[in-house]
């Protein structure tokens, strides 16, 4: 059941589910006979799978660390390219019941706060912005990924959480975003690369090019990503 020679296998971070699905369909339309096989998962899990011999052509990670793991492991064909950036935003339930206005409120003991755990990229980024703001956050929970934070905000379990702009954009019916100036201090880069032993190197190249094209940028921008 190995993918046909005309298939491009893309391992992509879960946060790219919406955009890469759309880009994959575009790519298939533009290159009849080519199929894009997408494997979404946590960036670190995907890196682990690639290192254990998973048959991937392209890897798009949510953080440079995970890409580095692959570069050090099975290797990539050429240096990885940053194709999108994401930055943090405060997410609050609709109506902002906690009256959250900025990062300073995260130090308030009365508010219920959800953050990402420091081990995951969004947690690391959050640490940076709090340092920049000089705030010690009093989190009630340190979630395993940004979607978990968002779920808590959506359900009103917490008064505020720190998530990516893209997440707020995806859930705009139920959460509101609050911008804060220190967000620029922790911009998250999304690298993409063709893998060294890609079974379909040519297709892989073409797909990466498609992601980096104007069309690709437009789709990513729609989802809330900023261009590198």
């Amino acid at each position: 059941t190995a993918p046909a020679a005309s298939a491009v296998t893309v391992f992509a971070a879960a946060s790219l589910t919406g955009t890469f699905t759309e880009l994959g369909e575009d790519f298939e339309a533009a290159n009849p006979g080519t199929r894009v096989v997408l494997n979404f998962g946590g960036s670190s899990a995907l890196a682990q799978q690639i290192d254990r011999g998973a048959p991937a052509d392209v890897f798009a990670a949510a953080a440079p660390v995970n890409m580095q793991q692959v570069v050090d492991g099975v290797g990539t064909a050429g240096t990885p390219t940053t194709f999108a950036r994401n930055r943090l935003q405060i997410a609050v339930p609709r109506g902002n019941p906690g009256g959250i206005t900025g990062l300073a409120d995260f130090g308030n003991a009365d508010a219920t706060i959800a953050l990402c755990a420091e081990q995951v990229p969004c947690g690391a980024a959050a640490e940076k912005v709090f340092e920049a703001a000089g705030v010690t956050p009093r989190a009630d929970t340190l979630e395993q990924d940004v979607k978990a934070v968002l779920t808590k905000v959506r359900l009103g379990e917490v008064d505020a959480g720190l998530v990516y702009r893209t997440d707020v954009a995806a859930a705009d019916a139920e959460v509101e975003g609050v911008e804060f100036p220190q967000a620029d201090q922790a911009v998250n880069d999304y690298p993409v690369a063709v893998l060294a032993d890609a079974p379909n190197a040519a297709g892989a190249r073409a797909f990466v090019d498609h992601v980096l094209s104007g069309r690709g940028r437009a789709v990513l921008a729609d989802a809330g990503f900023t261009a590198p």
């Binding site: 059941t1 589910t17 799978q49 254990r52 011999g53």
Partner: protein
Amino acid sequence: MNRVRRRAVGGRLPVVLVLPALVGLAFLLVPLAGLLVRTPWGAVPGQLVRAEVGQALRLSLVCASLATVICLLLGVPLAWLLARSDLPGRGVLRALVTVPLVLPPVVGGVALLFVLGRRGLVGQYLDAWFGISLPFTTAGVVLAEAFVAMPFLVVSVEGALRAADPRYEEAAATLGASRWLIFRRVTLPTIAPGVVAGTVLCWARALGEFGATITFAGNFPGRTTTMPLAVYLALETDPDAAVVLSVVLLLVSVAVLVGLRDRWIGGAP
């Protein structure tokens, strides 16, 4: 007869049993009810007609059922060995067999990759000699589910074996039946309720498997994306869709369980 017997024993249902039973029932069912209340039912038909959903549902049912068959073929004999033989160190073996229960499934998936991955302890030879590669295939999904679900079967069946009266097996032995015949024709029918219970647990656990599957078999639509994986992806883009998919999985599994139960239990004495 059963109805009559049940009714005849004991008299009124005791509060001290019925109350906790009802609390337990509520504890299990109210969250489900909550889920159903919050389900955007309008979205259900839309989700159901999506090709990927149908695919994922079919894949889930097929893989979980295959995994259950594997577990039955391997797990029931294993339970028998643990309960009825005089292997040395059975106590430790029994505990080891329950270990995959404790292992976080993601780590279970990693362990499977260590062993059966293309570069794994066993997998490298499978690949080199037979050209077989299990990870990222449907077979890999079945394997991951079986690995996670088998202990449930083994532990239940072993419990049933311990509770069964061994004198009937003795009687069968005096009639010249080999251990294998005794097992098939005396032991198995006697412990049938325990095997059914174990099978239900095993199948349900396999159907809901997520961590080991995504780690060992990846997440390829149509090949390895089972419903729980689809739910996970849906959570990324459309939380409502995730709830809808879960509810679909629930309803299908309840339908299957009710259907099977009625057939199996109806036939039992």
